[in-house]
C-alpha cells in the first residue's frame, strides 16, 4: 500500500474513532447522574461536567482491557491493518448512527464486536471461538444478573424493618469494597500486569499471606474500604436521611460514570489497537487518550440536553429504584472491564430498571418492546458481521490491496 493511502486511512480511522467516542460520551453517559439530578443532589451542568471528567478518567485508567479484546481478541491469526481498522470503525459507526437516527435500539458493543469479527474474517483471520463463548456467556448473563441484583437492592431498600440508615450504608460498603478491587492501569502492578487494583497492589507489596487460597491482604484492604464507605455514608444518613441518600447518589453516580467511561472507550479505540501500537509504535495510553478526549467532549457537549430529558424519568422512577438500577450497573461494568468483555452500558441499566420494578410488584414492561429490543440486538450483531465482511472485501478490491 502506498504511503499516502496509509496515512489517509490513519487520519480517517482516527477521526472515526474520535467521533465514535464522542457519540458514546454524549449518548451513553446520562444514566449515572440522572437520578442524582432528579433528586436535586446536583445541578445538570455540574453533573455533565463531572460525567465528562469521570468518564474520561475511567477511559484512561480502565479502558485498556476491553480495547485490547476488541482490537486483537476477536480474531486469531491476523492483525488489523489500517484499512481493516477503518472499515470496522465505519461499519460500527454506521450502525450506531442508524440507531440514533431511527430511534431503534442498536447497542454500540454489539455493532463494534460484530463489525470487527466480520472485518477480521474478511482479512483471512480465524474466529476466536473461545472468546466468543466468553463474550456470549457474559451477554446472556447480563440481563438476569443485572435484573436480579437490582431486584435484591430494591427489596432491601423497600423493607420497613431495615431503616435507611442501615440499608444505604450497607450498599455503600458493597460499592466501597468493589472500588478497592477495580483494575486501574495507573496503579503499578507488583506482579507486572497491565492493570492493578488498590487491593491487589497492597497484597502484592506486603509479604504474601494466604489462608485457604485467599489472599489475606486483599481481603483486609477490601474490608477496610467497605468499612470506611459504610461509616461515611452512615454518618451522613444519621445526620439526615435525605442528605445521606443524596451523597450516596452522587458518589454512586461518580463511580458508575467512571466505570461507564472505562467500559465504553474500548468500543471506539479497540479497532485502532494494532494500527496505533504495532504499526505506529504509539503507547497504549495515547490511544486511550484519544478516546477519553472524545468521551469528554461528547459528554460536555451532548450530555446536558440528555440529562435534562432523562433526569425527570429517574425522578419519577424514585430514588430506591434508581439506586437499584445503578448498583448492578457499576458491578457488571467492573466485572466486564476485569474480564475484558465489550458491553453496552445501556443494556445493563435497562435490566436494572426492570429488575427494580419487579421488586415493587409489577414492572409494567411491554413484552412486545422487549422482543423488539432483543431482536434488534441480534440483528445488529449479525448484520454488522456480514456488512463488516462485505465492506472490507469491497474496499480491498477498490484499493487493490
Amino acid at each position: 500500500m502506498t504511503g499516502l493511502v496509509f496515512w489517509v486511512l490513519v487520519a480517517l480511522a482516527t477521526v472515526t474513532s474520535f467521533a465514535t467516542a464522542w457519540a458514546l460520551g454524549a449518548n451513553s453517559n446520562s444514566p449515572p447522574f440522572a437520578p442524582a439530578i432528579g433528586a436535586n443532589a446536583v445541578s445538570t451542568m455540574r453533573a455533565a461536567f463531572l460525567i465528562g471528567i469521570l468518564a474520561a478518567l475511567g477511559a484512561l485508567t480502565q479502558g485498556g482491557s476491553i480495547s485490547e479484546t476488541v482490537g486483537s481478541g476477536l480474531i486469531d491469526g491476523v492483525a488489523f491493518t489500517s484499512l481493516a481498522a477503518t472499515t470496522g470503525l465505519l461499519t460500527a459507526t454506521a450502525f450506531m448512527a442508524f440507531g440514533i437516527y431511527t430511534g431503534y435500539p442498536v447497542p454500540a458493543a454489539f455493532a463494534t464486536t460484530g463489525a470487527m469479527i466480520g472485518v477480521g474474517l474478511s482479512l483471512g483471520g480465524s474466529p476466536a471461538f473461545e472468546t466468543y463463548q466468553r463474550i456470549a456467556t457474559f451477554w446472556v448473563l447480563v440481563p438476569p444478573v443485572s435484573g436480579g441484583l437490582a431486584y435484591l437492592t430494591a427489596k432491601l431498600l423497600r423493607r420497613d424493618d431495615i431503616p435507611e440508615t442501615v440499608a444505604i450504608p450497607v450498599l455503600a460498603s458493597v460499592v466501597g469494597g468493589i472500588v478497592a478491587n477495580i483494575q486501574l492501569s495507573i496503579i503499578p502492578s507488583p506482579t507486572g500486569a497491565a492493570q492493578e487494583s488498590v487491593a491487589g497492589f497492597v497484597s502484592g507489596t506486603v509479604p504474601v499471606l494466604t489462608v485457604a487460597g485467599v489472599d489475606i491482604a486483599t481481603v483486609v484492604v477490601t474490608l477496610l474500604f467497605a468499612a470506611v464507605s459504610f461509616q461515611y455514608i452512615r454518618r451522613r444518613t444519621q445526620a439526615s436521611v435525605d442528605k445521606g441518600i443524596k451523597t450516596f447518589l452522587v458518589v454512586l453516580g461518580s463511580v458508575v460514570a467512571f466505570s461507564s467511561g472505562g467500559s465504553q472507550v474500548g468500543l471506539a479505540t479497540g479497532p485502532l489497537e494494532n494500527l496505533y501500537r504495532a504499526e505506529l509504535g504509539l503507547p497504549a495510553i495515547g490511544l486511550l487518550a484519544l478516546g477519553a478526549t472524545g468521551i469528554l467532549s461528547g459528554a460536555w457537549m451532548g450530555a446536558p440536553r440528555l440529562l435534562q430529558a432523562t433526569s425527570r424519568e429517574y425522578a419519577q422512577l424514585g430514588i430506591r429504584r434508581s439506586i437499584a438500577a445503578l448498583v448492578p450497573g457499576f458491578v457488571i461494568a467492573q466485572v466486564a472491564i476485569a474480564l475484558g468483555i465489550p458491553i453496552s452500558f445501556n443494556n445493563i441499566i435497562i435490566s436494572g430498571v426492570i429488575g427494580g420494578g419487579l421488586a415493587g410488584g409489577s414492572a409494567g414492561v411491554s413484552r412486545r418492546k422487549i422482543g423488539v429490543t432483543l431482536g434488534f440486538w441480534f440483528i445488529t450483531l449479525g448484520m454488522s458481521i456480514v456488512i463488516g465482511f462485505g465492506l472490507y472485501r469491497l474496499f480491498a478490491a477498490v484499493l487493490g490491496t
Binding site: 419519577q316 445501556n346 411491554s366
Partner: protein
C-alpha cells in the same frame, strides 16, 4: 380537500410549555369552523437509549411522563371549543404525531416551529420537515414565540398552487374569531398576480364559515420577499400557503417563505394542503416506514 362541517377534531402537537397556548388558540380558531373540538397531543419520546423504552405505553403514560401531563395541563380552553388531551408514546416526535394523525383522522394538524432553532436535533425543525412531507392531512405550521396581541388584520399572500384553500381556511378562521379583515395579496412578477388574487378571493368565499371582510391588493416589485416583508408590517397575522411548486419543504428550507419568516416579527402560519401527500406511492411509503 373539501371540508364539510365535520366531527373531526383539529389536532395540535405541542412540545413546549411556553408555546402551548399560542398553538391551542390557532387550533381553536380552526376548530370553530368545524367540529369545535381541539385535540391536544404531546409525545412522550422514549429514545433508543432510554432504559424506560421497554415499559408498556400505559406505564410510561402513567408513571414516566410527568412533563407531558404538565404541558397538557398548561393549556387553557379557548372559548366555545372543547379540548381533549392525550399523551402518546413514540420513538420520536414525528412518529408520535403521524400515529396521532392516523388514529384521529383530524381536520387539520397544527404544530409550532421555532425559527431560531439551530440545533439539528430540536424537536421541531426535523419534525416539521417530516410532517410537511408525510402528514396526510391539512397542516399548519405556526412560527411560535411571535404571538399577535389582538388581531385586526390577516394577510393572505397568494401565488397560486394547491395550498391556497388550506391557507384561506385558516385566514377565515382567525379573522372570524377576532372580527378582523383579510387582505388577499400578491406580488406582480409574471403578469399572473390578478388571477392569483381572484383565486384567493374565491377560496375565501368557499370556506364554510362566517363571512369575513375581504380586501385585495397587488404590488409591483422585483423582490417578492421585500414586498411581503413591507406589507406584513401592516398586519397582525400572515397565513402563507406554499407556492405552486407544491412541496412546502423546499420553501421552508430556502425560498420565499423561509426568507420572509426570518425578516418579519409577525405571527406567521404556513399552510400545506393534505391532498399533496396523497399519492400512489404513499401507501407503499407507509408500509416501508412501519
Amino acid at each position: 380537500m373539501h371540508h364539510p362541517r365535520s366531527d373531526r377534531p383539529v389536532l395540535v402537537g405541542v412540545d413546549n410549555l411556553d408555546t402551548v397556548q399560542q398553538l391551542v388558540r390557532t387550533a381553536g380558531d380552526l376548530a370553530s369552523l368545524g367540529s369545535g373540538t381541539v385535540r391536544l397531543v404531546t409525545v412522550a419520546v422514549k429514545r433508543s437509549d432510554s432504559p424506560f423504552r421497554v415499559f408498556n405505553d400505559e406505564t410510561i403514560v402513567r408513571e414516566f411522563a410527568d412533563s407531558s401531563h404538565e404541558l397538557l395541563d398548561r393549556a387553557t380552553t379557548p372559548e366555545d371549543v372543547a379540548v381533549e388531551r392525550g399523551v402518546l408514546v413514540a420513538r420520536s416526535a414525528t412518529k408520535g404525531l403521524l400515529a396521532a394523525v392516523e388514529e384521529t383522522d383530524p381536520a387539520a394538524l397544527v404544530v409550532g416551529w421555532r425559527a431560531q432553532e439551530r440545533r439539528t436535533d430540536a424537536v421541531f425543525g426535523t419534525t416539521v420537515d417530516a410532517l410537511v412531507e408525510r402528514a396526510p392531512c391539512d397542516l399548519y405550521v405556526e412560527r411560535v414565540g411571535h404571538e399577535a396581541n389582538g388581531v385586526d388584520s390577516v394577510l393572505l399572500p397568494v401565488a397560486g398552487g394547491p395550498h391556497v384553500e388550506t391557507a384561506a381556511r385558516a385566514a377565515t378562521a382567525i379573522a372570524a374569531r377576532n372580527d378582523a379583515r383579510v387582505l388577499v395579496f400578491s406580488v406582480e412578477t409574471s403578469g399572473d398576480a390578478a388571477s392569483f388574487v381572484a383565486e384567493g378571493r374565491d377560496a375565501l368565499a368557499d370556506v364554510d364559515g362566517p363571512d369575513v371582510p375581504v380586501e385585495t391588493a397587488v404590488r409591483e416589485s422585483d423582490d417578492v420577499t421585500d414586498a411581503l416583508v413591507t406589507e406584513a408590517a401592516a398586519h397582525d397575522v400572515v397565513v402563507l400557503g406554499a407556492t405552486r411548486k407544491g412541496a412546502l419543504r423546499r420553501n421552508l428550507a430556502g425560498s420565499v417563505p423561509r426568507k420572509f419568516v426570518d425578516r418579519t416579527d409577525r405571527t406567521v402560519i404556513l399552510a400545506r394542503n393534505g391532498d399533496v401527500v396523497d399519492g400512489p406511492l404513499r401507501g407503499l411509503g407507509r408500509l416501508l416506514r412501519r
